[in-house]
Each structure stands twice: as structure tokens, then as C-alpha cells.
């Protein structure tokens, strides 16, 4: 008995390690793909990137200076090696053309607001989704459940910036619950409506999947047995069902993360929040190439690392997934 148990444990550990190796490899691959994409983007520009940045009427000397600064005077392989070296060895993603300082310092300066917004949106999403999914699953095929199930059809096509505008009109302009935009009235107060906006788009599909998962568990043999044994349904729900729904929700979160980040960047634009999104769109309108590249790279690494960690937790919590 004992040896079977140990054998199963080592078997599980082996599978887990195998999965971790695969996941690390895939994450690294994504980052490499992102780096290649980011690197070649500037080379895809029709014509001379220096002209695109400085405009048609720039002097030949300033064009030449910019080309040198961007490393465009080197051969393509040399440029790529330099780019990879700078990123990996010096964590240097180049200097912003507009601001003249390193893009890393700019991103790090604007990141805290964006991270707080992402965190708030995530907390709202998870809390509201859980409550709604539990209510729908425990009231299966009743009116509330039907409503919950058709809502995604209505919210699926709502662009996040449009929802944001409607929320401003309703909650800020008419009801005065929140400031119209900006963070002058305090960080948390200013970020609440943007966070609700981001969460609003994330909640319906999450509720739908969570509900299905909860129903599966509610109908599982062990739950039926527990019920038959007279365990109160509240205890079953909180102790057993929710725990079993935890892992799939983590996986869903990991898949949705890139939408969450994208939504956040766009929502910052609507609410005039000075975060990474604002920085990105300013960099875009200033044609500030190195800064756009740096922001893309940092966001990508953030998404990849967070989803790796999420999946790691999910696989640690549920060994059945390490196949």
C-alpha cells in the first residue's frame, strides 16, 4: 500500500516536472516570437523609418543621426544581435525619441497606475463572476439562470471604450458617483469606474464557463453522495464545489489575461488615466518607435509571466492536469 502511494507520488512529480519544462519552453518561445516581431516591426515600415519619425522636411544630418541612434546603419543581423544583447544583458530597450530618456524608466514610471487598475479589474471580475455563477448554478433553469445565460450575447459585441463612455455618461455625469476622468480626486476613486468598465466585459463569458463547471461538479457522484449523507448544501457548495471549480477558473483567467491587459490599455484612454496605455498611444501619435517597441515587449513579458504563474498554480493544485 505504502509503496504504491510513493510510486504514484513520484510518478505525479515526474509528470509535473515534465509539464513545467514544456510550459517554460512555450513561454520562452512566446517571448522570442514577440522580440522578433517587435524587432522587425520597425523594418516593415515602407520607406525610411527615420523619415517617418522626423518628417519629410528633416535635414539629412538629423536623419543620419537618428539612423545611427536607432542602429539602422548596421546590417540586419548585426542590428538583431545588438537588440537581443541589449535586452537580455542590460535590460535596455532603447531610449525614447520624444522624451530622450530610457524607455524602461518611462514604462516603470507609468506602470504602477496600470497595474493597480488591472488588479482592481481582476478583483471585481473574480468576485462578481463567482457570486453570479454560484447563483445561476444553484438556481438552474430558473429565470435568473436564463438571464445569466443570454447576457454574454449582449455584451460580446460591446467595445470596451464604448461601455466606458456610457458609464461616464450614466455614473459620472448624471449620478455624480464617480469623477468623469483623471485621478485628481484620488487614485482609488479615479480608478474605480475604469476598473468596473474593464471588468464588465470580462464577467459574462467567465460566468458562463464557471456556471457550466459548477453544474458539472454539482452533478458529480461525490456531491450526490454527500447530499445523500445529509451534509448541508451550503457546506457542500463552499467546501467541495467551489474548490473544484477553482482550477478551471484559474485557467480561464490565464487565457483571458491578454484581453484584460489590452482592455485596460484602451480604457485608460477613455478615462484620461495616465498609465501605460496613455503612454503607448502618445508614443504612437508621436511616432516614437523605440518607446512603442519597449511597451509592447514589457506588456508581452508581463502577460506571459503572469499566465505561466497562474497555470503553475492550477497544475500544482490539480495533478490530473499534468498529462
Amino acid at each position: 500500500m505504502d509503496s504504491i502511494q510513493t510510486k504514484r507520488n513520484t510518478e505525479e512529480k515526474k509528470r509535473f516536472r515534465h509539464w513545467v519544462r514544456g510550459a517554460l519552453f512555450r513561454s520562452l518561445l512566446v517571448i522570442v516570437f514577440v522580440m522578433i516581431a517587435v524587432f522587425f516591426l520597425i523594418r516593415l515600415v515602407p520607406g525610411d523609418p527615420a523619415v517617418m519619425v522626423l518628417g519629410e522636411h528633416a535635414s539629412e544630418a538629423s536623419l543620419e543621426a537618428l539612423r545611427e541612434r536607432l542602429g539602422l546603419n548596421l546590417s540586419l543581423p548585426e542590428q538583431f544581435v545588438m537588440f537581443v544583447k541589449n535586452v537580455f544583458l542590460k535590460a535596455d530597450t532603447g531610449a525614447s525619441i520624444k522624451y530622450g530618456v530610457s524607455s524602461r524608466s518611462l514604462v516603470f514610471k507609468y506602470a504602477p497606475v496600470t497595474l493597480l487598475l488591472v488588479l482592481m479589474a481582476t478583483l471585481i471580475t473574480v468576485a462578481v463572476s463567482l457570486v453570479l455563477a454560484v447563483l445561476a448554478a444553484t438556481h438552474r433553469d430558473q429565470l435568473f439562470d436564463h438571464i445569466i445565460r443570454v447576457i454574454p450575447a449582449f455584451t460580446q459585441g460591446m467595445p470596451v471604450f464604448w461601455t466606458g463612455l456610457l458609464f461616464i455618461l450614466l455614473f459620472a455625469v448624471h449620478l455624480h458617483w464617480f469623477p468623469v476622468g483623471g485621478l485628481d480626486k484620488g487614485m482609488l476613486r479615479g480608478l474605480t469606474l475604469p476598473a468596473i468598465t474593464v471588468a464588465f466585459g470580462q464577467i459574462p463569458p467567465l460566468v458562463r464557463s464557471l456556471r457550466e463547471r459548477l453544474l458539472e461538479v454539482l452533478e458529480a457522484d461525490f456531491v450526490v453522495t454527500l447530499k445523500a449523507a445529509g451534509v448541508p448544501s451550503r457546506t457542500i457548495l463552499f467546501k467541495h464545489v467551489l474548490r473544484n471549480a477553482f482550477v478551471p477558473s484559474l485557467m480561464l483567467f490565464s487565457v483571458n489575461l491578454s484581453y484584460l491587459i489590452g482592455g485596460t490599455l484602451v480604457v485608460e484612454q477613455v478615462f484620461a488615466v495616465r498609465g501605460v496605455g496613455k503612454l503607448l498611444f502618445e508614443a504612437i501619435s508621436n511616432r516614437d518607435f523605440p518607446l512603442v517597441q519597449a511597451i509592447a515587449l514589457y506588456c508581452a513579458v508581463f502577460v506571459v509571466v503572469i499566465s505561466l504563474v497562474t497555470e503553475l498554480i492550477a497544475h500544482k493544485a490539480d495533478p490530473r492536469m499534468n498529462k
Binding site: R26, V34, Q156, W162, L165, V266, A296, C299, V304
Partner: protein, 271 residues
């Protein structure tokens, strides 16, 4: 589950989508206003009998612009799906059919790019390729095929182990013929269900790029640029931003109902 009940959903979805397409195609021909015509004597008019959806800051008729933008956005949505759909279905079938190394590479690509922050990639590519529709086509071709490939792969792998496939092979039919004649008709319904959801996502992305000023560029009406144009006047002239948004939402509802309805219909038929 309750497939019989869902059938009205499919009908509703098809009717709504039909109406939207009809309005986008015929609307601009029938409706009297030119979407580009400015009228500085009639700026920021609220919805009325003359201008059912009001006018914008340049006195352009919002209904005319919403109808015309529907043409632009919907046709772009359909066109940009063609390549990813085709590529995805065929790569997925190849992975499921041949297995081995082909499967390994394609599965690795799918697993890798599922985690790819492609919202961001779309924005950056659109920026580099300049305002316009090229960025949308390029990025969507790069990442849009994943979902179709995943669905097609799963379906093909399960079909491959069935007896009638062996029978077809024993009869000496080539792989290509079996894939095209036998596997494809079974894979397509599932891929079409995915397509319905995916199109909404793509439409929202097209509209988002327009809103950010890096999608369909200014004079051409597009639901996204229209929302952006009305943003600063939201409190005084809500209709400029709200109405194009409703057009996007309605399209999303129609596609979603069609997708769910088809899924239920085909599930009953045993697909």
C-alpha cells in the same frame, strides 16, 4: 440540453443579421442623405423626423454614416476572416490526420500563440503599417487561425479512428480525397460555430482600431471613428457616439444567437 428551445434563437439571429446586412447593403442607396455631406446650418441636431439619428459637429447625418459604416466594417470583418478560417481548418485537419511531427509542430504553435498578447500586437502592427486596413489583415492572418486549427484538429483526430475512414483507405482513396470529401464536411460545422463568435471579436477589434485612430482612416465612416468623434460631446450630443456603438452590439447579438443556435442544431444532428 434544451436544443428545441434554442431554435427560436437561431431564427432571431438570422433575421437580425439579415436585417443588418440588408440595411448596410441597400440602406445607403435608399436613404437620401450623403454620409460625407456637411451642413454647417444643421450641426449637432438631436434625433428628429428629418434626421432620425441626429447630426454630428459637421452637420453630417448620423443614420447615413451608420449605414455606410456598416458596409465598410461588415465587409472588412468577413474578408479578414477568410484567410485565418481556411488556414486554420486545413492546418488543424493536417495535424489531426497525419499526427506525429506535423501534429507536434502545429500543436506547439497553437499552445504558444494562445498565450500571445495579440490585442497588443494588433495595435502595434496597425501603427506600423499606418492607419488603414492592412494592419488588421496582417495581424489577423498571423493569429486568427489558432482557434479553427484547434477545433479542426480535435475533430479530425476523433474521426480518423473510426471504421469508415479505414474502409475508405482500404478502397485505395488518397489521403487528400478522404480529407476533402469525408473529413472536411464533418469539421466545417464546428468551425462555423467558432467563426460566429470570432467575427464579433474581430469586429470589435476593427472598431477599436478606428476609435484609436489607427484603423479605417478619417473621412470614411466607420463605427469606431464615429464613436471617437462624439466622445468629447458625450454630455451634449450623446447620439453621435451611442448609436454606432449600438450597431456593433446588435451585430454581436445576431452573430452570437446564430452561433449558439447552429451549435445546438448540429449537436442534435449528431455532429
Amino acid at each position: 440540453m434544451n436544443g428545441k428551445k434554442m431554435k427560436p434563437a437561431l431564427k432571431t439571429g438570422l433575421c437580425l443579421m439579415g436585417l443588418i446586412v440588408l440595411l448596410a447593403v441597400l440602406g445607403p442607396l435608399v436613404y437620401g442623405y450623403d454620409p460625407y455631406a456637411q451642413d454647417l446650418t444643421a450641426v449637432l441636431l438631436p434625433p428628429s423626423g428629418v434626421h432620425p439619428f441626429g447630426t454630428d459637429q459637421l452637420g453630417r447625418d448620423i443614420l447615413a454614416r451608420v449605414l455606410y459604416a456598416g458596409r465598410v466594417d461588415l465587409s472588412l470583418m468577413v474578408l479578414a476572416e477568410i484567410a485565418p478560417f481556411t488556414i486554420g481548418v486545413f492546418l488543424g485537419m493536417a495535424a489531426g490526420w497525419f499526427g506525429g511531427k506535423v501534429d507536434w509542430v502545429i500543436t506547439l504553435l497553437i499552445d504558444t500563440f494562445i498565450a500571445f498578447p495579440y490585442y497588443l500586437l494588433v495595435i502595434v502592427v496597425a501603427f506600423v503599417t499606418g492607419a488603414g486596413i492592412r494592419g488588421i489583415f496582417i495581424t489577423f492572418m498571423l493569429v486568427g487561425w489558432l482557434l479553427y486549427a484547434r477545433v479542426a484538429k480535435g475533430m479530425t483526430a476523433s474521426l480518423r479512428s473510426q471504421e469508415w475512414v479505414d474502409a475508405a483507405r482500404l478502397q485505395g482513396f488518397s489521403d487528400l480525397r478522404i480529407i476533402v470529401r469525408e473529413i472536411l464536411p464533418n469539421v466545417l460545422p464546428q468551425a462555423v460555430v467558432v467563426l460566429m463568435t470570432d467575427m464579433t471579436g474581430l469586429l470589435v477589434m476593427i472598431v477599436m482600431l478606428g476609435y484609436l485612430g489607427i484603423g479605417i482612416s478619417a473621412p470614411t465612416p466607420d463605427w469606431g471613428t464615429m464613436i471617437a468623434e462624439g466622445q468629447t460631446m458625450m454630455t451634449s450630443a450623446w447620439w453621435i457616439s451611442v448609436i454606432p456603438g449600438i450597431a456593433v452590439v446588435l451585430t454581436g447579438i445576431a452573430l452570437s444567437f446564430i452561433g449558439d443556435g447552429l451549435a445546438d442544431l448540429w449537436r442534435e444532428d449528431g455532429f
